[in-house]
Symmetry: C2
Subunit: 512 residues, 2 copies
């Protein structure tokens, strides 16, 4: 246990300062401070020594250099049980400093508010992180507080131990202190990387704020948590059971499609991260019904994502099936009343979430694979009609729709669509032919009468003719695929022989 | 352009010091240093002022406080074009310091070598990061060098500009400096998190070293790079074309299965991150042939991963099919000679890679989902036989094998196996029944005569009887599944009626 005799306080965020000062004064802890914090402490009528007076060295460069002085760092860094250290402190009259309360210049907040580079740079704190790092290193003897939300813990600790802190407490605070300094410099480092347009720096630092620990991961024997790379996740749960890892994973899969569809027009149903149905229709009920019709069995226990506001009528339809999660860009009041009748269903408002341009990453063993998102929307201008028969405007729209959905279906992906609604989705197969068969079987099972004018999209080229043959034989009139196979010519020939429309997208949409 | 008059040097890694000192002396740059660096500079016969002499303040606490002095930080942090700053420096006789060459105490190396907590803590550098952060903040006027591999760049810059540096250069060095400090504190922060067994701290920092930029991501319109959370990736490419994003992704999928199989016994074939065949056999040729037989068509253009050393005979077999990547725990010399005949095939040695206990993470929008790996191997003791008919030892081994493979197949996953070889794998379907059909169809297509005594595993429970019915009708004699459905009783009843072996694993293996 370490009795605290002297504390250095330098805080940018001055919330709850009075509360902590009252307790420190109760234990007769001498205070050292400077600048705005010093003024605030004096205003609150507590005794305090100004740092320049304490060190005998003036504050210079408009406050850029205040605390960087051997008297301060001798006082923080000395090992209390080391005779040499003790001797040094005595010799130079450097008293021990036992408690550091510091929070940093608000670099991240400034970054979110301003875009003037010089203002942002001015908010890089130099003195603060140094005080914190020194105290955190010497946690064996020194207590470090880096966040206003730790004040109550410190107060409890001091009260429990009559003005002292335990090693356990100091170590915990040290751990959190290094989290703060690492996080702070990560934000700065990422700012510089962005500023210099350096997507892949030699050292990449990714940081996140804990949103919540989850009950478990994909499976009950895995531990899990979700973090946000910003302050918040920008999706809001407004009803229902706690979200699980798999819920979150499905929600993001759903939203990556929803956010790519025309505004206020699209419904997506997700199961196991793959869409089981997608539909665009300005009539909300029709949009939902068409998405559901693509595979009404898989939709059971799935996630429905609407990129529009849910109204009462739709809520009544949604309540007819068992859903784990409903996502929408807001809910009308009477819709919410209906949906909330089901206790467990998780209702999410995603209206604040915007499509992300950030790089995505996944980790495996000790690797991190980083890539920019697949969020470019390709259209007619990117595509080339290679068959003799040309698509009608309606067919071309459907081809673009189907190809756009492909990028959110696990590869190999085949999407059959008509009237901007999916009729069959084949996902996650090592063989493209198998994905074709799955998509065709879905269509034949649930929508056997809708194949007239139906189109198909393939996320990558057909290595053989077989998949194309199957699709055409099942009634598909138009196919879009990237091209690039040595059998492209054979496929074009077959398309012309069967009067099938064939479009080459040139781009592909693998997703794994 | 900034003429450099004065440099402060404090380096833990003293490589190539002479080289840089020669150039600095050429431009008559005054040197300040301390401790080991000072001694080394003097030994190399260059002029240098010791910091304690420069500041007039003694080095104290066995070197814990050396550079933390206003004369140093005034000299670094002053804005050269600010009159107030200039006045301060003149008043206190603090000369400008224009160049900082610092690298840190080798915290990460010490961490990898030692596990004595106090030794590790002692290697947290306080002075170094402060010098670097101050100089990096003031890059408008100051040049900061943080790594020995930047020396040549500095030399080129000084030579090009006759002893000065450009703003562009200083800004680039500043960016790299904040990368270094962020990385350094990330390693410290993660060390403390691990030390305190804190899996999910409030602020999580993930850091990586760039291994290489990749030609593109999953698709040509996506940019990509691969990072390592350690110094190296621990997999070694020894032949063939450059690895792509999709190669890496498939390699890690392959290795997560390979590393879970009995040592020196297993072959895995991967296509689009899903296994198309897996087999355990002490005979390498048989092991490969059985893995291939599960789906010889999908194996085309796939990845083969052998958790043993590849010999000549196997190399001859491997060369018969088109493979993108071959992974092995080493290659016999004459095997390598054969495999290298194919110019493009990527040969990977993964013998140094060990199964990871690290948390995995994926990002979506602004979220990071973190979870511990699904690497617990379950066996008989975890499972419960719920049918009247009991599995033979051989059947139980096959059930365990199939269930183990399930955890590496995208959900919903169904794996049919016999003699520790897969016969059919159904992956990535929203409907479990569809996954059953895919697995059965594979078996019937490629291994129509092997269903006797074949078993099936399901990664999660059957919500309906239909999937179980299909499997039994196709000739499957034993099924393992987690249980937990409201139809469990119905399924047990059906198993008993059809004399099928049914085992409840209690655990599940979702993977998305």
């Amino acid at each position: 246990m370490k009795k605290i005799k002297r504390a250095l306080i330098s805080v940018s965020n001055k919330d709850n300062l009075k509360k902590i000062l009252s307790v420190l004064s109760q234990y007769k802890i001498q205070l050292i401070s400077s600048g705005g914090t010093y003024k605030k402490i004096r205003k609150l009528k507590f005794n305090c020594t100004e740092i320049s007076q304490y060190t005998g060295s003036a504050e210079i460069l408009e406050g850029r250099v205040k605390t960087l002085h051997p008297k301060i760092y001798g006082g923080i860094l000395s090992k209390r049980n080391n005779k040499l250290h003790k001797k040094d402190l005595l010799k130079y009259n450097f008293p021990e400093i036992d408690l550091i309360i510091v929070n940093f210049y608000p670099f991240e907040e400034i970054l979110n508010q301003k875009n003037i580079h010089s203002k942002i740079i001015e908010n890089i704190d130099i003195g603060g992180p140094t005080l914190v790092r020194a105290a955190a290193k010497n946690y064996n003897d020194v207590t470090v507080i880096t966040n206003t939300n730790q004040y109550q813990n410190l107060i409890n600790e001091l009260k429990k131990n009559k003005g002292t802190t335990s090693l356990n407490f100091r170590q915990k605070m040290s751990e959190e202190a290094f989290s703060e300094t690492a996080y702070y410099d990560s934000i700065i480092s990422n700012y510089f990387n962005n500023f210099n347009n350096n997507q892949f720096p030699k050292k990449k630092i990714i940081c996140g704020n804990l949103v919540e620990e989850l009950r478990y991961g994909e499976n009950p024997h895995q531990k899990s948590a979700i973090y946000s790379s910003q302050e918040k996740l920008n999706i809001k749960q407004i009803h229902g059971k706690k979200l699980s890892y798999n819920n979150y994973n499905d929600i993001f899969s759903a939203l990556s499609i929803s956010k790519s569809l025309p505004k206020n027009n699209g419904t997506v149903i997700i199961k196991h991260t793959n869409p089981s149905g997608v539909s665009i229709d300005s009539n909300k009920i029709n949009s939902f019904k068409s998405a559901l019709a693509c595979d009404p069995i898989s939709a059971y226990g799935g996630i429905v994502s609407c990129n529009y506001k849910i109204n009462k009528q739709l809520a009544l339809h949604l309540n007819k099936i068992f859903l784990e999660v409903i996502i929408a860009n807001g809910y009308e009041k009477n819709a919410l009343k209906i949906l909330k009748k089901k206790k467990n269903v998780r209702l999410i408002d995603a209206s604040n979430l915007i499509s992300s341009k950030k790089n995505n990453y996944i980790s495996n063993f000790n690797s991190i694979l980083v890539q920019s998102p697949d969020n470019i929307k390709f259209d007619k201008n990117n595509f080339k009609i290679v068959s003799k028969r040309k698509p009608t405007s309606k067919q071309f729209d459907d081809l673009i729709f189907a190809f756009n959905i492909c990028r959110s279906v696990k590869s190999n992906a085949i999407v059959i669509a008509n009237n901007k609604s999916t009729l069959g989705i084949g996902s996650g197969q090592p063989s493209r032919l198998d994905s074709c068969n799955i998509a065709i079987n879905k269509m034949n099972k649930f929508n056997p009468n809708k194949f007239e004018n139906a189109v198909a999209a393939s996320d990558a080229f057909f290595p053989f003719l077989d998949g194309v043959e199957k699709l055409v034989q099942s009634g598909i009139s138009a196919i879009i695929q990237p091209s690039g196979s040595i059998r492209d010519k054979e496929i074009i020939k077959f398309a012309n022989q069967t009067n099938t429309i064939l479009v080459f997208s040139k781009t592909r949409h693998f997703k794994h």
